[in-house]
Amino acid sequence: MAAPVSLQVEFGGGAELLFDGVKKHQVTLPCQPEPWDIRNLLKWIKQNLLKERPELFMQGDSVRPGILVLINDADWELMGELDYKLQDQDNVLFISTLHGG
């Protein structure tokens, strides 16, 4: 059993418009059998934070192309992308580079 994980989840570049315009979210992920990774986090966001039009944020089990992900201020491509194992107090930032919504 993994312990609960506290995160700061942020949205920018217009992605916040999908989350009632709120940029910073303090999030506590519940205990679950396997450790939390970005893949699970996205699923959790879809169920708990994303109220409407999930297709504007997600595609399949990942983010929609054109949305950047930074983990603790570094490109997620350097961190293992969806497989990155979240640690307590991590900061995950999603920046939209999309023009139209």
Partner: protein, 513 residues
């Protein structure tokens, strides 16, 4: 070059980045740990990324050498990431040590499009306040335009401006030497501090509009009736694609008007590489193939006196987003045009989704599209007509017409048929005299207050015809478009009358001899 580093292969699971346990080091300094991956697989640390980003801007301007020292350059800000990063590059460039300093004189323009993007007056005010806070911190002269002001534009905005008087343009080298000479002179006169900041300060006192005194809420926005008129114009456009094109056109014309009235000879737009690639494919789909180079190239001189340059066109949207995040560049996001319920999305959005989707799988998609665009030249489109003669230009986009008056009627049977169906009662289909081939016959039949759609067609390029077809009735168009269309139609009519006269003369010749 960098091409060698790119692989066109699909991103397999094997290409995944290494786990966080072994953080990658920067490819440049080989010391600091990397924070961003750019191009394909090049990982940079924060400091090296910043250096790369800043250098690229200077290199872009240095390579193209079109902005002269001392020239007034208008930066078009949208509040979005690319133009905000562009503003920061100009600020950086002006504050550098002498040898590397940018030497043009910048000003800023922001077009408030809130009305058509579904923003309430309060939201628009809030947006404007945020934009003003950003621009005031720069100290550059600032010009604000509301989209509603398109209704006050002069018809001349649709005409090419004269290129800098009679004297020939000096070469870049001459201009630089002149500038340095002038600076030495000023220094010798004990006016050594006649530096950019001082001159900017002088400009500011004349230029900074609104905002000197705290205006009452709503006072800065255009009258509600004007906003209503603007909304009707957009409401009348049948598709989101036409609305996007309309917005782009009005925005461009407002920026151009600001440049002309305030004495700027260059406009800088913040189109990123990603944006340029999307625009290339979008415009191709919109039938603007002949004008791709002008629509997306580094320099666009279709307006004659004011040239548009795109110095951000080698930055990927990702690079810009990371730069803004790392170095605290603030942006002000305005929501995009929204599709009405059950309305189809626009070609612009479809192309963006398509390209970004491909890019996710094939990481060199966007740079490949971009580089294909680089190979296009403006020369063929501009030189299509006889040398020396000024080509006929499209009323709306000012590109040299890619249509011939005779064949266009055959090309657009749908348009003509629709026009016939919409024609007011008094004008039967054969009420048209069929005398003119330029559409001038319909123009000359007086239909007070109502311009015929058909009268516009000969004035438009192929692509603008398609867009025009999806826009509302010509009556809803801003006055400057209608008045310039009438002026051109009248001129075409006159030209034809003269030509007919000359032809008669020719015909008589053989019979007399």
């Amino acid at each position: 070059m960098c091409q060698a580093r790119e692989d066109y292969g699909r991103r397999g699971p094997g290409r995944r980045a290494p786990p966080p346990s072994c953080p990658r080091t920067c490819v440049k300094c080989k010391e600091a740990s990397a924070v961003v991956v750019i191009r394909v697989g090049d990982a940079f640390c924060r400091a090296c990324f910043r250096e790369y980003f800043v250098h690229k801007f200077r290199a872009m301007l240095g390579k193209n050498r079109v902005i002269f020292p001392g020239e007034k350059v208008l930066l078009a800000l949208s509040g979005g990431p690319a133009s905000s990063a562009m503003l920061r590059q100009v600020q950086e460039g002006l504050s550098r040590e002498t040898a590397k300093r940018l030497r043009f004189v910048p000003g800023l323009v922001y077009v408030d499009e809130g009305a058509v993007c579904g923003q309430s007056p309060a939201q628009r005010e809030e947006n404007l306040a945020r934009v003003e806070a950003i621009v005031q911190a720069t100290g550059f002269p600032f010009h604000l335009a509301h989209l509603e002001q398109a209704f006050d534009l002069p018809g001349s905005i649709l005409r090419r401006g004269p290129r800098g008087g009679d004297k020939p343009c000096p070469s870049y080298k001459e201009a630089v030497e002149d500038f340095i000479q002038q600076q030495r002179q000023e220094a010798a006169d004990g006016d050594g501090a006649a530096s950019l900041p001082r001159r900017l300060a002088q400009l500011r006192t004349q230029d900074v509009p609104a905002g000197e005194e705290p205006a009452a809420p709503g006072a800065r926005l255009p009258a509600a009736a004007r906003t209503e008129e603007l909304l009707q114009l957009f409401e009348a456009a049948e598709t989101l694609t036409a609305k996007e094109e309309l917005l782009q056109m009005l925005r461009t014309h407002l920026i151009l008007h600001t440049a002309r009235t305030q004495g700027y000879t260059k406009v800088m737009m913040g189109d990123s590489c990603t944006r340029v690639a999307v625009k290339l494919l979008t415009n191709l789909a919109l039938g603007r193939g002949a004008f791709l180079a002008m629509d997306t190239g580094f320099m666009d001189s279709r307006h004659g006196d004011v040239a548009v340059v795109r110095p951000m066109r080698e930055y990927m949207a990702k690079e810009i987003a990371f730069y803004n995040h790392f170095f605290g560049v603030s942006t002000v996001i305005t929501p995009a045009l929204r599709a009405k319920r059950r309305e189809k999305t626009s070609i612009h959005r479809l192309m963006e989704d398509f390209l970004l989707g491909l890019q996710a799988e094939f990481p060199s998609t966007i740079s490949t599209v971009y580089r294909t665009g680089e190979k296009l030249s403006t020369a063929p489109a501009e030189a299509s007509s006889e040398p020396g003669a000024e080509p006929q230009r499209c009323l709306l986009c000012l590109c040299a017409l890619d249509t011939l008056a005779e064949e266009d009627l055959a090309l657009e049977p749908t348009l003509i048929a629709e026009e016939a169906a919409q024609r007011p009662q008094g004008l039967a289909e054969d009420g048209c005299c069929h005398a003119g081939t330029q559409g001038s016959c319909c123009q000359s039949s007086p239909t007070p207050g109502a311009e015929s759609r058909a009268a516009f067609l000969p004035l438009l390029c192929y692509s603008c015809r398609l867009t025009f077809k999806e826009m509302g009735h010509p009556d809803t168009l801003p006055p400057y478009v209608r008045s310039e269309a009438q002026r051109r139609s009248r001129r075409a009519e006159m030209k034809q009358q003269i030509q007919e006269f000359l032809l008669e003369d020719d015909d008589e010749d053989p019979s007399e001899s």
